[in-house]
Subunit: 879 residues, 2 copies
C-alpha cells in the first residue's frame, strides 16, 4: 500500500499490505487477490483501487498523486518479474483489466500485450526465438489498443487485413506478413486521426484513462440504470504481467466451469483455444475446442493434448469451488506448458444450472438448505420456466446452431439493437439476429425476445449475456449468412427478411420458421422440485394458482399450487357451445327465454366445475362469479354481427339494438361484476346452482371439495350482503335436494378503492378477501390497462414512472389501500383469510411485500407458481 493507498500488489501466494474490501478492489481483482492468497498461480501484478477512479471523476482528470503511485508499482513489478517496461532486451508486457464491485458490462474490458512498440517487439522476437509470436502479439496489441483505447472501430482493422491478405486465416500468416500487418494497423490508426504511442508508460496511462472514461460511457450508464446500480461505485484497474497463450507450442487459453453452467451437472466443463490469448475466446471470432473428450472442432481437447495440465486444471477448479462454495468459472492461460489462472468468479449459469448446483451443494454439505434457497433468484426460476416449443409442433428448421441459452422465443427478425426497442414500443416481439454481438447490443438484447448469432461459441458475448438475462439464444449458427445492408439473412434457399417471424429454440439450437406453438414447461421432478419442497418448508405465504379449466388446474397442482385462488367462470363462455347459450341469454326478449338459455348453460358450467373439483381433490377452489360486462360476449364487427344473428336466428337489427343498449363509454367502470349479479340475479343463481350441483356430484364420487365463492367488483357492503343471501338460498336448495352437507365460504374481491375503505363492513359478510390488484391499481391511478400504452412509454422514457404499476406492484400508493383493507377487515374478523389474485401475485418484490402484510396466500398463473413459492421462501428467510 502506498501514499494515497490507491494501489495494492499481488502474486501467487502473496499479497502486499492488508486486503481492501471488494468495493475497493472490484470483483475481478478481489478474485485475483483471493487466488493469490490461496497460492494459486496468478501472474504478478497490482490493482488500482476504485477510490482512484473516484478521484479521477471528481477531480475531473488524472490525479497527480496517482502518477507517483503508479510509477512505484510498475517499478516494483519490474523488480519482481525481472523484466523492464520498454526494455527491448527483456520487455515487460502487461495485461490491463477493469472491474467494478458489481458486474457492470459496457465498460472497457481488457487490453493485452501492453508495452510492445517497434523496439520491444523485436526484443521479444529475439528473446523468445519466436518472431511469429512477437509480431502476432504486436498486431493484436495495436488493434486492441486502437479499438479500445483510441476508439478506432475494429472493423477498420479487419478491412485492412482483408485488403492485404484477403480471406487467408491469421494462423497461416508468417512473421513477416504479421509485421507488415502491424504497420498497416498503425496506418489505420493514423488515418483515423489518432496516434499510437510508442512509450509503454504513456500506453499504460492512456489505457487506464480509457477505463475511467468508459465508466461514464452511454452503454455503461444505461446498464447501471437498467440494473439499478448507482453511478458512484467507481471501477478498479488491474495491471498484470502478460502470460502468453499465443506461443507456438504448449500454449493456449480457455475457460473452466467447475460444473456444467447450462445444466448444472457435476463435472468440469469448458473450452480452450490452443495458441490463442483470452480475448480470442470471448470475441467470438474462433470456435474453441472442449476441455475434455472428443472435439468436433479443428483442435483437440485440452485433455487429449496436455493430460497433465488438464488434471492440474481440474484439481484447481475443485479447490476453488470448495473455497468459494459456488460453481466457479476460471479463466486460464497455458504458457509454454505452465498453467496460469487469470481470473475466477461465480459462473454465469442457466436457471436450470443455478437450481441444480445449489441443490447439489446442499446435498454435498457445502450449503445449508436456507443458503441454497437464497442463492437462487426467483426471477431465475421464472426463466427456467420459460416456454418451450410444443413437443407436437411442426418444426420447419431453417438452421441449427449452438444451444446457448435455453427456452424458446418467437418474434420478428431485426438486425439492429435499436429496432428491438422500436418494435417493443409497438407492442411487438423481436428476435435480434447478428453476425455476433458486442456490448453495443446489450440494450437491444434486453428487450428482444431472443438472440441468434452466426458466429461465436458457448462463451461468446452473445451466449454469456443471453444466459445472464435468461434470454433464449442460438449462437454460432454458421448455416446462416447475415446481410446487414439488405437486412436479410439466408438459410439455405430461404431468405428471411426484417419483420419476418422466426422462432429460436435455445434448448436445441434450432432456428424455426414462423410462429411455432409453445408450451410452458412442467417443473422438473429433480432439483427444482426438491428446492421448492425446501421452499415450502420455509415459506409462510401459500401459493395458489389462477386456473379456469381442469387442464389448468392439473398443471397448477403439478407445479405445487395448494389450491385455486381464482377460477374465472366466464372463461368457459368463450367456448363455442357455451358462447351460443350465453348469447341467447343476453338476447332473450323475456325472462322465460332468458331462463331457457340459462338452463342450457347450467349443465356445461356444472361439468366444468366438476372437472376442476376432481383435479383439486382436497384443495380449496375459489370460484369468481361472472365478472365482465355482457357486451363482451357479443360480436363487434359488422360481418360477425350478421353471422351471429343468423346462427342464433335473430334479426341483425335486433342484435344491433341490443348492442346499442349494452354500449358503454367506459366498460372498465361499467355494468359488470356484482352489478350484473344484482340487476340480473338469474345469471348468478345459475352459476351458483351449477357449482353446488357439481360439488354434490363429485362428493358422491369421494372427492373432497372446498368451494370458496368470490363476488367481484363490490363497492358497497349492501351488494355483498344481497349476493351472500342469494348464494345461501341456492346452496341450501341444492344441498337439501341432494341431501349432502358441503362446507363452503363466501368472500369478496377487494378491487375497488371503496372496498378497501369499507373493508371493516365487508368483512362482516366475507370469510375471505381476494385482493384484485389489477383493477385496484387501475382505479387508484385512474389508468386503464387498455389505454395506458398511449402515455406509459413516454412516462418510462422520461423517468416520470420507473415501472408499469400493473406489472410491478405499487406498494407506495396502491399498497396503502391494500394495507387499509387488510387492517380493517381483520379488525372485524380476526380469522379473515387474505389472498391476492392480481398479476402481482407472481411478482417477487410484491410477494415479499405481501408476506410482510401477513397475507395468507397469493394466486398466480400456474406457470409462475414455482417462482412464487421460492419468492415466498425468500421473503420468510429474509424477513
Amino acid at each position: 500500500m502506498e501514499a494515497q493507498g490507491w494501489i495494492v500488489s499481488f502474486a501467487g501466494g502473496e499479497v502486499r499490505g492488508t486486503q481492501p474490501s471488494v468495493e475497493k478492489l472490484g470483483l475481478k481483482a478481489a478474485g485475483l487477490v483471493e487466488l493469490a492468497q490461496l497460492g494459486v498461480p496468478v501472474p504478478e501484478g497490482f490493482t488500482i483501487l476504485t477510490s482512484a477512479c473516484e478521484a479521477f471523476q471528481s477531480a475531473d482528470g488524472w490525479p497527480r498523486a496517482l502518477t507517483q503511485e503508479l510509477d512505484q508499482a510498475v517499478t516494483e513489478l519490474e523488480e519482481r518479474t525481472g523484466r523492464t517496461l520498454g526494455d527491448p532486451s527483456n520487455p515487460l508486457l502487461l495485461a490491463i483489466r477493469s472491474g467494478a464491485s458489481v458486474p457492470m458490462p459496457g465498460m472497457m474490458d481488457t487490453v493485452l500485450d501492453l508495452g510492445l512498440n517497434d523496439k520491444t517487439v523485436r526484443g521479444l522476437a529475439e528473446r523468445t526465438g519466436d518472431p511469429r509470436f512477437a509480431w502476432d502479439s504486436y498486431r493484436r496489441f495495436i488493434q486492441m489498443y486502437g479499438d479500445i483505447v483510441l476508439g478506432v472501430h475494429h472493423t477498420r482493422f479487419v478491412k485492412a487485413r482483408e485488403d492485404l491478405y484477403g480471406g487467408k486465416p491469421l494462423e497461416e500468416l508468417s512473421a513477416e506478413e504479421l509485421a507488415k500487418l502491424s504497420e498497416r494497423y498503425r496506418q489505420v490508426i493514423a488515418t483515423a486521426g489518432r496516434t499510437f504511442p510508442q512509450g509503454p508508460r504513456e500506453q499504460l496511462r492512456s489505457a487506464i484513462e480509457a477505463v475511467y472514461r468508459s465508466y461514464n460511457s452511454h452503454r455503461a450508464r444505461y446498464y447501471r440504470k437498467t440494473h439499478q446500480i448507482g453511478d458512484d461505485l467507481g471501477v478498479a484497474v488491474t495491471v498484470q504481467r502478460m502470460v502468453f497463450g499465443n506461443r507456438a507450442e504448449s500454449s493456449g487459453t480457455g475457460v473452466l466451469s467447475t460444473r456444467n453452467p447450462k445444466t448444472g451437472e457435476p463435472g468440469a466443463f469448458g473450452e480452450w483455444i490452443p495458441g490463442a490469448q483470452g480475448s480470442d475466446v470471448s470475441r467470438g471470432g474462433i470456435t474453441p475446442a472442449p476441455l475434455a473428450g472428443d472435439s468436433t472442432t479443428d483442435h483437440a481437447s485440452l485433455q487429449e493434448r496436455f493430460p497433465a495440465v488438464y488434471d492440474e486444471l481440474i484439481q484447481l477448479g475443485e479447490r476453488l469451488e470448495a473455497h468459494f462454495r459456488d460453481l466457479q468459472e476460471l479463466e486460464f492461460t497455458l504458457e509454454n506448458g505452465t498453467l496460469w489462472a487469470l481470473q475466477t468468479g461465480p459462473a454465469p449459469r442457466s436457471a436450470q444450472a443455478a437450481v441444480r448446483v445449489v441443490v447439489d451443494l446442499a446435498h454435498e454439505g457445502v450449503l445449508s438448505r436456507q443458503e441454497a434457497l437464497l442463492r437462487v433468484d426467483p426471477a431465475q426460476l421464472e426463466r427456467m420456466l420459460r416456454p418451450i416449443v410444443a413437443p407436437d409442433a411442426r418444426r420447419r428448421v431453417l438452421a441449427t446452431g449452438l444451444d446457448a441459452s435455453p427456452g424458446a422465443a418467437c418474434g420478428r427478425v431485426v438486425f439492429h439493437a435499436a429496432d428491438c426497442q422500436e418494435l417493443l414500443e409497438k407492442g411487438e416481439p423481436s428476435i435480434l439476429v447478428r453476425v455476433d454481438t458486442s456490448p453495443e447490443d446489450i440494450q437491444g438484447m434486453t428487450v428482444a425476445q431472443g438472440v441468434l448469432t452466426a458466429r461465436g461459441g458457448q462463451t461468446s458475448h452473445a451466449a454469456v449475456v443471453a444466459r445472464g438475462m435468461g434470454k433464449p439464444a442460438v449462437v454460432g449458427c454458421t448455416e446462416i449468412q447475415v446481410d446487414y445492408s439488405r437486412e436479410v439473412f439466408y438459410a439455405g434457399d430461404t431468405v428471411i427478411r426484417r419483420g419476418d417471424w422466426i422462432t429460436v429454440d435455445g434448448s436445441t439450437g434450432q432456428v424455426l420458421a414462423g410462429q411455432v406453438p409453445m408450451l410452458a414447461p412442467e417443473a422438473d421432478s429433480g432439483a427444482m422440485a426438491e428446492l421448492l419442497d425446501w421452499a415450502d418448508q420455509e415459506a409462510r405465504l401459500r401459493v395458489r394458482a389462477n386456473a379456469d379449466s381442469a387442464p389448468d388446474a392439473k398443471r397448477a397442482r403439478a407445479l405445487g399450487a395448494v389450491g385455486i385462488g381464482l377460477c374465472r367462470t366466464e372463461h368457459m363462455f368463450f367456448m363455442p357451445e357455451a358462447l351460443r347459450a350465453i348469447r341467447k341469454m343476453i338476447l332473450a326478449d323475456d325472462p322465460w327465454a332468458r331462463q331457457r338459455a340459462l338452463n342450457d348453460i347450467l349443465p356445461m358450467q356444472r361439468a366444468m366445475f366438476a372437472d376442476i373439483f376432481r383435479e383439486m381433490d382436497g384443495l380449496p377452489v375459489t370460484v369468481r362469479l361472472l365478472d365482465p360486462p355482457l357486451h363482451e360476449f357479443l360480436p363487434k364487427r359488422d360481418e360477425d354481427i350478421s353471422e351471429v344473428a343468423e346462427e342464433l336466428g335473430v334479426r341483425v337489427e335486433a342484435l344491433n339494438a341490443r348492442l346499442a343498449q349494452l354500449y358503454e363509454a367506459n366498460p372498465m367502470l361499467g355494468h359488470r361484476g356484482v352489478r350484473l349479479g344484482i340487476s340480473t340475479p338469474s345469471v348468478y343463481k345459475t352459476q351458483v346452482r351449477a357449482l353446488f350441483e357439481a360439488a354434490c356430484e363429485v362428493t358422491r364420487e369421494g372427492v373432497q371439495v372446498h368451494p370458496e365463492i368470490l363476488v367481484p367488483l363490490v363497492a358497497l357492503p349492501e351488494e355483498l350482503r344481497r349476493i351472500r343471501d342469494l348464494i345461501g338460498e341456492i346452496a341450501e336448495e341444492v344441498l337439501s335436494e341432494h341431501g349432502i352437507r358441503i362446507v363452503y365460504e363466501i368472500g369478496t374481491m377487494i378491487e375497488v378503492p371503496r372496498a378497501c375503505i369499507l373493508a371493516d363492513e365487508l368483512a362482516e359478510n366475507s370469510a375471505f378477501f381476494s385482493l384484485g390488484t389489477n383493477d385496484l391499481t387501475q382505479l387508484v391511478y385512474g389508468f386503464s390497462r387498455d389505454d395506458m400504452n398511449k402515455f406509459l412509454p413516454t412516462y418510462r422514457r422520461e423517468g416520470v414512472l420507473r415501472d408499469d404499476p400493473l406489472s410491478h406492484f405499487d406498494a407506495e400508493g396502491v399498497g396503502q389501500l391494500v394495507r387499509m383493507a387488510c387492517d380493517r377487515g381483520r379488525r372485524t374478523r380476526p380469522e379473515l383469510k387474505l389472498g391476492v389474485c392480481g398479476e402481482h401475485a407472481g411478482e417477487t418484490d410484491a410477494i415479499a411485500w405481501f408476506h410482510e402484510q401477513e397475507l395468507d396466500y397469493v394466486s398466480c398463473s400456474p406457470f409462475r407458481v414455482p417462482v412464487a413459492r421460492l419468492a415466498a421462501a425468500h421473503a420468510a428467510l429474509k424477513g
Copy 2:
C-alpha cells in the same frame, strides 16, 4: 286526561290537563291546543294522542282501553256543547282530522259532519230550519265517509250524481233532490259491497281506525321514505264539534295567510268560498274568491261581504304571527256570522316568500339574523333560483292558468304519475298534466319537472304540494281540456299528445308550446341579497364559482362568488374558430405544424383569459390546464368526419387514421389531463403563455389579477413537479418579456385516489389542492358517470344505494379519502389552501361536511353560489 292518558280535551281559552308534547299531539292538534290556550275561538273537541296510534299498531288492532277513554271524551264533549251524538232533536256533529308531528301527506286527512244518519239529518233540518243545508251535509258526509273510510272511489259518487242530475251544479239542487242524492250515495256504497253505518259511535270508531290504517298506506310510507321520516312516529286524531260553513247565510270557509305565501310581501292574503266547508277549498272542485279586494270569480271577497268578520280575521292573523314568530296559514270557518279557527300553522310558501318573510321578520325584530338564516332551507333558495323563461324567448302560449308555483319547467307531457318515473329512468324530463291532483300523484310530482292542472285554486292540492316541492306549477288552467283515455289535452285548436314537449311558466301561469329557452335568474337585489350578506358574515367556508367565460364569471360575481374556483380552459375549444385550430393541432403531422396551430390558439386563449381576469378584478381565478383526451375535439360520426376533413383540408383517411390512433377503450381512464401535459408539453406551454400574457395585459390596464394554475389528473408527485417546472419557466419568460411581476400559485387537482394517498408529497409542490369529487367518486366506486344509468335505477329501486353518489356526496367512502388528502396535505404544508370543485360543492349536506373538514372554499356553478353561501352559513351556525 284519562286512564291511559291517550286523550286531551280543549276549547277556546281552555285546555284540560297538562299540555302534551308536539310529538304526542301532532302538528295540527298542537296548533289547535295552542290556539285554545291563546283564547282563539276553536270548536270544542279533543285529541287522541299518537301514543294511542302506536298502541293500535303494536297491538295489531284497536286497544280496548281506548274505547273507554273515547266514550268518556265524547260524553264530556256532549256536556260542553249541550248536544248529543245521535240525538235527532239536537245532534252533535263531529269533524275528524289527523296529523303527525311532522308533515306527512298521503294519510287520511279529514272527515266532516260525522254523526249524521237517516234520523239526525232530519233533526238537523228541523233544528236549523234549513233542510237544504241538512241534506247537503248528509250527502257530503256519506260521500266523504264512503270515499275515505270505506274506500269507495269518489268518482263513483260523481258518476251517480251525473246519472241523476246531469251537469246541474250542486248549488242549484233542492233539499229534496239532495235527499234523493244521499239515498243514491248509500246505494253506491252498498253496490261496492260496503256498509254505511248508521250508529254515530260506530262511525267515529271506524273513522279513527281508517286514520290508523292510512298511516300504513303505500302513499304514506312512500312519503316517509322519500323524506327520511321514520315509521314509528304515529298519528294523532282530533275530534271536534262541527262548525258549518255551508249554511245558507253568513257562512263560508277559507284560508288566511298572514303574508303573501308566493312573494312574502307583507299583508294578509287568502281565499274563501261562501257557503262551503273546508274540504271544498282544498279538493279543487270550486274556484274560490279572494279575501280582500275585487274578486274575479262568481263570489265577492270576504272583505266586501263581511267587513267586520274580515277585520276580526286580520287581527287574529296578526296575533297568531306575533305569537308563532312566522308566517301563519289559518284555516277558518264562518258559521252564521261567527268566526271559528280550524287550524293554524307555518304557511307553505314559495322560496322567494320564505326569504322575504325571514328578512322582514328580522327587520321587525321578531327574529335574530341567525334565526332568520336558519329558517331558510338552502334547498329552498335553490328553487328560487330555478330557471325562468328567457325574456327574449318567443312564447307560443297554449293557455293561461294560475301562477301557482314560480319558475319555469320544460318536459314531455304525461298524464299519469307513473309515467313521470318511467321517463326519469330514460333520462327524460316530464310535465305531469292532470285535471286536478290528489295524494296518489305525489310520487309522480316528486320526479316531474313541473305540473299543470285544469282545475283548482292557489290552495288546491296541486298548488300547495308543488310550492312545497319548489316545482313550477300552473293550476286551475280552465282553458285546457284533459282526456285521460286518449292521453291528450286540448288547448283551443291545438292537440297536445303524450310525449309532446311543453313548457310551464309557474311565474306567469302560462303554458307554452315546445321547449322554450330558459335563463337562470339573478339573485334579486332585495331580501335574498340581504340574507346572503348575513350568511357571508357567519360562514367560514368561502364560495367560488366554476366559470369558463367572461359572462359566466360576471354572473358568478353578481351571485356573490369570491373568485373562480375552476375555469375549464378546454371549454373555449368548443367555439368554432378555436375548435378548428385545436383540430389542426391534433392532426398536425410534425412538431412545426403543431406549433403553427398552437400559435393560432394562443391569441384566442389569451383574449379569453383577459376577459375573465377583467370581470374578476381583485379576485382569484383558478385556471385548470387542458383536461379531456384529444379525441373529444374530433368528430365521431362518418358524415361529420367527411365535413371536418374537407374543412381542414386533410384526407378522410388521414383523419380516420388519427382517430384510430387516439381511440381509447376507457377514455375516462385515458390519455388526458397531466398525461397530455407531459406527452405533448407544447399544449400546456401555449396555455400557460396565454395566461401570463393575458395577466400582463390586464395588469397594465390596472386590473388586479390573482391567477392560480391547476394541474388536472395528477397521480404521481413527479407529474406535478414537471408541470410546475414547465409553468415556472414559461411564467418567468413571459413576465420578464413584459417586465411585470405577478404573484401566482400552482396547485393540483385531487381527483385520483392515488393523489389522496400521496397528498403529503404532492403538497410539496402545490400551494393549493382542488378536490375534484366527481372523478374521485367515480374512481372510488369504479363507476362511470356515462354508464351508471345501466344499473343505478335498479340499485336505488332495490335500496342497494340510497342516493346517486355523484349528486349526493359519499362522506362514508369517498369522504375518507378526501379527509386523508386534507390531513396529509396540511401535514406537509400547514397553510395549504383546500377547495372543492366537483358537483358536490353546491350540495347542502356536502357543504356541511366540507365545513367540518375545515376546507377553505367550495366552487360550484354560478347558479348554485347563493345556495352554497347559505349552506356554508348554516354549517357554521350549526357547527
